[in-house]
């Protein structure tokens, strides 16, 4: 069932030697030729910033685009807990193979062995690189790097900088980027949004961007385009993503023929602050690192639940023997540190059974009392001080005294633009890195692995693999932005903006986005079934009509206009939502973050179907109103033996 469209380019040879062999075989571009080549990078998160900086250092001419006023605002900044690396500094028998294996298993056997092995391999270089850049990782008293544990692993391999690891890693990459901007090798375009991709003779040759400050539509040409625009979790409206995070760049690529892989694989993070009302704009994540020392529970007795809801008792008044530490009960080997999808479903199971601990019935406790007794308040405060402070500011509850309440929320999307081993999409010259691509996390990403993948792609993979393509472009002159392809694409972009702008309907963008979010959460959220997914597909179609006939965008389109930005992004979220539902309907198995209710064991665990679904589902756009075509890339396991994920013993 292999598909001509999907050539994964996985190198031959033993797993541990593939990347080394591949590097030896791919082409390189000489310094004199690098100076002649231009690369566009979309996004300035860990992937985009690290890639642009590294490509600039190599001598390429790079243009980098971000939608914020500074590259440092990218949402990687909000990652809290840490970054994994197979350093084995703790002497707990960690290795490249173990990190590889944990990642494959954590992803429920839906990622490529070769990609994941490479990720584990270069993870070690990332730590070295970040230390050299001055990232202030946590240290022990001997001056050595400290580690903590994270979900889905039995070793301590997570490096961290308090609860702000993403911020510190991004500031490292941003500093490297700034150094190149000062040198002139990278040109930075802030408050610019890519609105379309330009292809010439089937190759990615540039973009159409909107200057968000002036509303001006601009053309930018290059020899290659790199999409590092992050994930599409905001399709749910309420998610842990930043408000401006969006999937528009990826969707534009999809509409030009780049295949979109595994869109239904979205991660629901178990430890977020619960929803408080319908005026809420976003959900706040409480780092997974909290599960190192926090214990998750609900009361054993329904009477206690009712008293809690009526605020007749405080959670700390419920005695130890009346508490159900359900993760420790169900998964003794991993306890509170089971992977995110498992922890999320377990919380849903308890809440569905009526044991949710707040007024909405959608919350469980994350309790630090045992850890505070064991380690003292000072140690806990050193580890999680800023998270505790953030929690108190939002909820007005002091987590040193009473347990946190948490509930799962959409956090990360494993699906994304299909890429081969070189991180190139199905469009020649178009690359995708970080969360924007689909490649390394399969059906579920392990905690502290997003930062690892973003930086692996940007620092250590793309700078090599892009040379293999660009070596064939050294004779190609600079892209002429007066080419008719730019005329045509620019015209389409302007027409689309005018169309949205001229609808002048009744509903603000957010009202429609909330409707989309409700459809997605209800039918394409934590538990999915055939009937619900079909209903979602219908409802999304209706919503699309509603959007294109009733959206209201005030102001003018030739100025700074945040409502227009949101409207353009929502039009694309509707497309993504539909694609997610379609993919979820097709994948009739439960796997990682994708839980099909029809496919579960008697005790509610996921039931994977390796015989029929051990493939990457890559969707090809077939035009407006047409059903996308499914392509399958079979997943071949040469090293790992496929087994049922077991976190019980």
């Amino acid at each position: 069932m292999s598909d001509n469209k999907l050539q994964s380019q996985i190198p031959d040879g033993p797993l541990a030697e593939k990347w080394t062999r591949h590097k030896a075989n791919i082409k390189v571009v000489s310094p004199a030729n690098k100076r002649k080549l231009e690369i566009i990078v979309i996004g300035t998160g860990l992937g985009g910033a690290s890639a642009a900086a590294s490509l600039g250092e190599l001598g390429y001419n790079v243009k980098i685009f971000c939608i914020s006023d500074s590259p440092r605002r990218a949402h990687s900044i909000a990652a809290q807990g840490g970054i994994n690396a197979a350093k084995n500094y703790q002497n707990d028998n960690d290795s490249v193979y173990r990190l590889f294996y944990d990642t494959i298993k954590g992803g429920d056997y839906r990622s490529r062995e070769a990609n994941v092995y490479r990720l584990a391999e270069v993870s070690r270089n990332i730590i070295d690189q970040c230390v050299a850049q001055g990232v202030p990782f946590a240290r022990d008293y001997g001056g050595m790097l400290d580690n903590r544990s994270f979900g889905g692993a039995q070793v301590s391999r997570t490096f961290y900088a308090r609860g702000q690891t993403g911020q510190q890693l991004l500031l490292g990459a941003y500093a490297a980027l700034n150094r190149q901007i000062a040198k002139g090798s990278v040109k930075s375009y802030t408050r610019h949004e890519m609105l379309d991709l330009v292809l010439i003779d089937g190759k990615a040759k540039g973009i159409i961007a909107r200057n968000l400050e002036t509303g001006e539509i601009e053309r930018h040409g290059a020899h290659a385009v790199v999409i590092a625009s992050g994930g599409y979790g905001n399709v749910f409206f309420l998610s842990t993503n930043a408000m401006n995070s969006n999937g528009s760049a990826a969707i534009q690529c999809y509409k030009h023929g780049a295949l979109f892989a595994n869109p239904c694989f979205a991660q629901i993070h178990p430890t977020c602050i619960p929803v408080h009302g319908d005026q809420q704009s976003k959900l706040t994540l409480m780092s997974e690192s909290l599960r190192n020392d926090g214990r998750i529970w609900v009361p054993k007795n329904i009477e206690d639940v009712e008293k809690l809801r009526k605020k007749q008792i405080k959670p700390s008044q419920i005695p130890e023997e009346e508490r159900d530490y359900y993760l420790e009960r169900r998964y003794p080997a991993f306890g509170n540190l089971v992977p995110r999808d498992v922890a999320s479903r377990a919380a849903k199971e308890r809440c569905d059974a009526g044991f949710g601990v707040n007024e909405t019935g959608l919350a469980v406790f994350l309790d630090f009392s045992t850890a505070i007794q064991r380690l003292g308040k000072k140690v806990i405060s050193e580890r999680y001080g800023n998270l505790f402070q953030m929690y108190e500011k939002i909820t007005d509850v002091d987590p040193y005294k009473e347990p946190m309440t948490i509930y799962p929320a959409i956090h990360y999307t494993m699906g994304g633009i299909w890429v081969d081993y070189n991180l190139m999409t199905t469009i020649p010259g178009l690359y995708s890195i970080g969360e924007a691509n689909f490649s390394d996390h399969g059906g579920n990403r392990l905690g502290a692995s997003a930062l690892m993948q973003g930086l692996a792609d940007g620092y250590f993979v793309l700078p090599y693999t892009i040379g293999n393509y660009l070596a064939g472009e050294i004779q190609t002159p600079k892209t002429d932005t007066n080419h008719e392809a730019f005329d045509k694409t620019e015209k389409e972009v302007k027409e689309k903006i005018n169309k949205i702008f001229n609808i002048k309907g009744k509903q603000p963008v957010d009202a429609l986005h909330k409707k989309l979010g409700r459809i997605m959460w209800e039918y394409v959220g934590m538990a999915r079934n055939e009937k619900g997914l079909k209903k979602a597909l219908e409802s999304i179609k209706e919503l699309r009509k509603e959007f294109w006939s009733d959206v209201l965008v005030p102001g003018e389109n030739t100025e700074f206009n945040q409502e227009l930005e949101k409207a353009v992004r929502l039009a694309d979220f509707i497309e993504i939502g539909e694609l997610m539902a379609l993919d979820a309907l097709n994948r009739k198995e439960s796997c990682g973050g994708h839980f099909r209710e029809e496919m579960q064991t008697e005790d509610g665990e996921t039931k994977r179907d390796d015989k029929n679904f051990s493939y990457v589902a890559a969707w090809e756009y077939k035009g407006e109103g047409e059903t996308p075509q499914l392509h399958k890339e079979p997943l071949v396991y040469e090293t790992v033996h496929l087994s049922t994920r077991n976190y019980k013993d």
Partner: protein
């Protein structure tokens, strides 16, 4: 809860701004300040008016994008939080709330409450980095860093680049911002090598971009949402003076 809002409206960088009055009703005390503005904008849009432009993104206090001057204080009345983490329970029912953009010559207004902080990027581009390329670096544990030094470096590195310090300072000085970066890197052996050159370059850039000088009023520290200490300014001054003496 009900509030009267007095909000700065300004069409663009070239036009003159003015305050406009609005009222907002039935806001839950659990609503965040920015959610309150979302609700207001929803009302404005539905009644055919233009919504208030304001910068925001992560809404969890880390991206540094939100930037409001609320009742005369950067990020509002609560301590050690950004505007997005501020909740309406910090106000009294019926309060009048005045909302302005950051006021600083170095941060031009884009529209309403949105300003540009490109100047911060430019300062960091002038030297806020360690000159190391990707690859070819030693093992992470080959450069031991004392825990206290790492912790202090991290204290300074917590800066989110929001610009509250500049907006608060009567001189419009960026010294707290610059010193946080200089100090964070100078505390680490890997950053020590370029420390003097870095301090000199960043201070020169700051002056060039029109930020004012520091007169030690300590207002910046008091309003910093991440409680960055002005002791970093002392370290910056030390590095800067040493560099100048060596010239």
């Amino acid at each position: 809860m009900n509030f009267k809002l007095k909000i700065w409206r300004q069409k663009n960088n070239k036009s003159k701004g003015r305050f406009e009055n609005y009222t907002i009703e039935n806001v839950s005390s659990d609503t965040s300040f920015l959610e309150m503005l979302d609700i207001l904008n929803d009302q404005l849009i539905c009644t055919g008016q233009e919504p208030v432009a304001f910068d925001h993104d992560c809404r969890e206090g880390i991206c540094g994008m939100c930037s409001l001057y609320i009742n005369g204080r950067a990020h509002g009345p609560d301590d050690e939080v950004t505007t997005c983490q501020l909740h309406m329970r910090k106000f009294k029912d019926g309060d009048t709330i005045t909302i302005e953009p950051w006021r600083s010559g170095a941060f031009p207004v884009v529209k309403d409450l949105v300003v540009n902080r490109y100047a911060f990027d430019q300062i960091l581009q002038s030297g806020g980095f360690i000159s190391v390329n990707t690859g070819g670096v030693p093992d992470g544990n080959a450069i031991p860093v004392g825990k206290e030094d790492a912790d202090e470096s991290m204290d300074a590195a917590a800066c989110i680049g929001c610009g509250a310090c500049v907006a608060t300072c009567k001189n419009g000085s960026a010294m707290l911002f610059v010193s946080a970066r200089v100090s964070s890197l100078a505390k680490l052996p890997q950053g020590k090598i370029e420390a003097k050159r870095r301090a000199k370059a960043m201070v020169a850039k700051m002056d060039e971009l029109g930020f004012g000088g520091c007169t030690n009023t300590q207002a910046c520290e008091a309003e910093c949402p991440k409680a960055i200490s002005i002791s970093h300014i002392a370290r910056l001054n030390r590095e800067f003076l040493c560099a100048k003496l060596q010239d």
